[in-house]
């Protein structure tokens, strides 16, 4: 028997009716018409592409497992993902972040969780069809059923009142009985508790707290599950929003801890989004590092927005890229439009179609006359006294980002000088994104303020607002300067204070934004006394590093708020 067009049309109508929804979705497509890249290489039973709003079903597999008559339930399952569970990928991302807190080291379980929600609704009228799918899938497994899958099927048996072990084979039941004491009661209790919870986050916390027992060891794959991966993965913005956390999650964790579902420690977690990101193990795609960097950048962008006292204006629109740059190898996953076919044919000849070349376009930087705002140089201390900005929120980095975003939004330009034992200096930057990425650089070594670079920059341009963001290490630098270790006794390489004074006097304004304790405050007044006498020097002191972002926001407001 093979599934014909009439069956497909009828099942699709019934599935839509099951959800009582008027949605404009194109008719389902068979899997074989999709490219392999579209479904990730594994062989799914069905999935929904939320970008194209397209349900795709693997009809041959459905027939192979003897569940051709379950077509309506399969469609309804996919529609359920689209219409209700997860409803938004922001929720999926939030749950993934929550999972990384509750079950660190595991691959994402959110798809399984959403399947439990969808199947309860579909199973109210089509439990038999879903059972046929799961039963067929279980029989077709070419390896022993994973404990997670067995537990998962037992939940459905309990939910739909099926005899124990109906959806799995006897060997699996025996193995589970041997390995997991009380697992059947566990599944029964799960079914009778999970579906009585009304809050999604609480449901998810409960779900994680129960299934963790049946998961493979950290780092190992979950094993084959039907409908696994049929919900698309969240994107950058979804993750960035999720990493901020929300009150509903905190309440769910508190309630779960109160009900005894969590062991000590899981519920207590800082709100640092970067620490949450570090635990997130299931970041999608093969390009984990670029995705992670982009995510770190988004997190800081959100923190900047939150810390800005008043936004001077909206971000300047980036100019359209049109200047051709050099070519590089085109790789699968790169945009097709980036291929330069002419150059590919010229360089590769007949092999052009096999190994084409990619040419990136860059925007033309605006001329200096087109810029109205002030130029700002930010000297950012990235020594080891502060955490790496991609592992925890680095408040110095954040302060620099706030100043940079404010300057750029007021039509200015920004140069970043990131220093530690050594220093790096950027070109003048005009876009918030490049400035943000540049200022996320980190060294983690000692602290040596680049006085020589300051003087050189000051000699080149005097109309620049210069800001140094540091702590008491800056005072040590001003007091001792860099040490020449090649001579004994060690001597300073040069006197730093005169260089600093020259840099200040050749600046439009020089601001030292420093985190100094009370003892260091009087030391600063003494050490920087010559600078404090200059009209274009300002010392902005905060008593602890956590106040640096607010101080930067106040500065930004004073400079560009109007």
């Amino acid at each position: 028997m093979s599934i014909d067009a009439a069956q497909i049309a009828l099942a699709w109508r019934e599935a839509l009716r099951l959800w009582d929804a008027e949605v404009t979705l194109s008719a389902p497509e068979p899997l074989e018409t999709q490219g392999r890249a579209d479904w990730g290489g594994s062989e799914p039973l069905a999935y929904i592409d939320l970008v194209r709003r397209q349900v795709v079903v693997n009809y041959p597999q459905l027939e192979k497992i003897g569940a051709a008559s379950s077509l309506t339930a399969v469609y309804a399952h996919e529609l359920g993902h689209h219409l209700h569970f997860p409803h938004t990928l922001g929720l999926a991302a939030a749950l993934e972040v929550l999972q990384s807190q509750l079950v660190p080291g595991s691959t994402p379980l959110t798809n399984l969780f959403f399947d439990l929600q969808v199947n309860e609704a579909v199973g109210r009228t089509r439990a038999e069809e879903l059972c046929a799918v799961y039963r067929g899938f279980a029989c077709a497994l070419d390896a022993p059923m994973s404990p997670l899958f067995a537990y998962y099927l037992a939940i459905y048996e309990e939910l739909w009142g099926r005899p124990a072990g109906e959806l799995m084979n006897a060997e699996t039941v025996t193995l589970m009985n041997e390995k997991f004491d009380g697992w059947r009661a566990d599944a029964r209790m799960f079914a009778q508790t999970f579906y009585a919870l009304t809050d999604t986050y609480l449901q998810f916390v409960y779900f994680c707290s129960r299934v963790v027992r049946y998961l493979p060891d950290p780092g190992q794959e979950l094993g084959k599950l039907p409908f696994a991966g049929d919900v698309p993965r969240p994107d950058l913005d979804d993750y960035a929003g999720a990493l901020e956390g929300n009150g509903a999650i905190d309440r769910a964790l508190e309630e779960a801890a109160g009900r005894g579902w969590l062991r000590g420690g899981e519920a207590q977690d800082g709100n640092d989004p970067l620490q949450k990101l570090n635990r997130l193990s299931g970041i999608p795609g093969s390009a984990v590092l670029p995705f992670r960097s982009a995510l770190v950048s988004r997190i800081y962008a959100r923190l900047v927005e939150r810390n800005l006292v008043k936004l001077p204006a909206t971000a300047r629109e980036a100019p359209d890229p049109f200047l051709p740059t050099t070519t590089a190898e085109w790789e699968p996953g790169d945009p097709l439009r980036s291929i330069d076919w002419t150059q590919s044919v010229l360089a590769r000849g007949p092999l052009a179609s096999v190994a084409p070349l990619r040419r990136e376009l860059e925007p033309e930087p605006p001329s200096a006359e087109d810029l109205e705002g002030v130029a700002v140089e930010i000297y950012l201390d990235t020594s080891g006294s502060m955490p790496a900005p991609d592992t925890a929120v680095n408040v110095m980095t954040l302060a620099a980002q706030i100043l940079s975003a404010s300057a750029l939004r007021s039509g200015g330009r920004v140069k970043g000088i990131v220093y530690s034992s050594d220093f790096e200096e950027s070109e003048w930057m005009l876009s918030e994104e490049s400035a943000r990425e540049y200022l996320l650089r980190y060294s983690g070594g000692g602290t040596e303020f680049p006085f020589a670079s300051l003087v050189e920059n000051a000699q080149n341009r005097a109309d620049v607002l210069r800001v140094v963001i540091s702590d008491a290490d800056f005072l040590a630098n001003v007091e001792h300067g860099p040490i020449d270790y090649s001579h004994r006794p060690h001597k300073p390489l040069y006197e730093p204070l005169p260089l600093l004074l020259e840099g200040i006097s050749r600046s439009r304004l020089f601001v030292a934004l420093l985190s100094l304790g009370d003892r260091d405050a009087s030391r600063a007044n003494k050490l920087l006394a010559p600078a404090l006498r200059l009209p274009n020097f300002r010392l902005e002191r905060v008593s602890n590093p956590g106040q640096l972002p607010q101080a930067a926001a106040r500065l930004a407001h004073a400079f560009w708020g109007k």
């Binding site: 080291g105 009142g161 009380g182 059947r184 009661a185 566990d186 508790t193 998961l215 950290p218």
Partner: protein, 192 residues
């Protein structure tokens, strides 16, 4: 006509419990079911719990809560009609049925019954056993099987074993995670 669980839930959703039933009102509602069926109501002593220890007081309070919710279910849904119908046909001896009922529903709290449809269904089915009622669309054997599946008391005792094992397994998993983290840190240090 047997009780339709779907209709029961619909009726209940339309009549939320505004405030707890007092003990005298609870007893009155339950005994009225017997009276409506033309049967003598069970003696009040069958509902009472003797003893003055703290444990008894707690049990008494829980029973008052459970029966208060049951009274609400009887007063606002077709559960009462089915109970009356069943009692008219054949009345199981309350002196035997009620103690068994109390023992079976002992772990259920009023909050559980209110918030969890499974626990509510269990209470209703246990009550139908007391009065000899039936669930629509089910044979007695099916009802019995479903009741076994819903049996919170026996699930709880078996579940205790799962919880104990979970603790040990969680320890093991935490240890594996720590080791994996240590390995990763060591490898990173070497790369750097």
């Amino acid at each position: 006509m047997a009780l339709s669980l779907r209709q029961f839930e619909t009726e209940l959703a339309a009549a939320p419990l505004a405030s707890p039933y007092s003990w005298p009102l609870t007893l009155a509602v339950i005994c009225d079911v017997y009276r409506l069926a033309g049967r003598a109501p069970p003696p009040a002593s069958l509902f009472e719990l003797p003893g003055d220890t703290k444990e008894f007081q707690q049990q008494r309070s829980r029973r008052a809560d459970q029966l208060g919710v049951l009274a609400h279910l009887l007063a606002s849904t077709s559960l009462r009609d089915e109970s009356v119908r069943a009692l008219q046909c054949a009345a199981p001896d309350p002196a035997q049925a009620l103690p068994a009922f109390f023992a079976a529903v002992e772990p259920l709290t009023a909050e559980m019954i209110r918030a969890n449809a499974f626990r509510r269904e269990e209470l209703v089915r246990r009550w139908l056993e007391v009065v000899g009622g039936m669930v629509d669309g089910e044979t007695p054997a099916q009802s019995q099987a479903r009741l076994q599946q819903l049996d919170y008391r026996s699930t709880l005792s078996e579940y205790g074993r799962a919880e104990k094992a979970r603790e040990a397994e969680a320890e093991r998993r935490a240890k594996l995670l720590r080791e994996a983290q240590e390995r990763e840190t060591a490898a990173r240090g070497w790369r750097e």
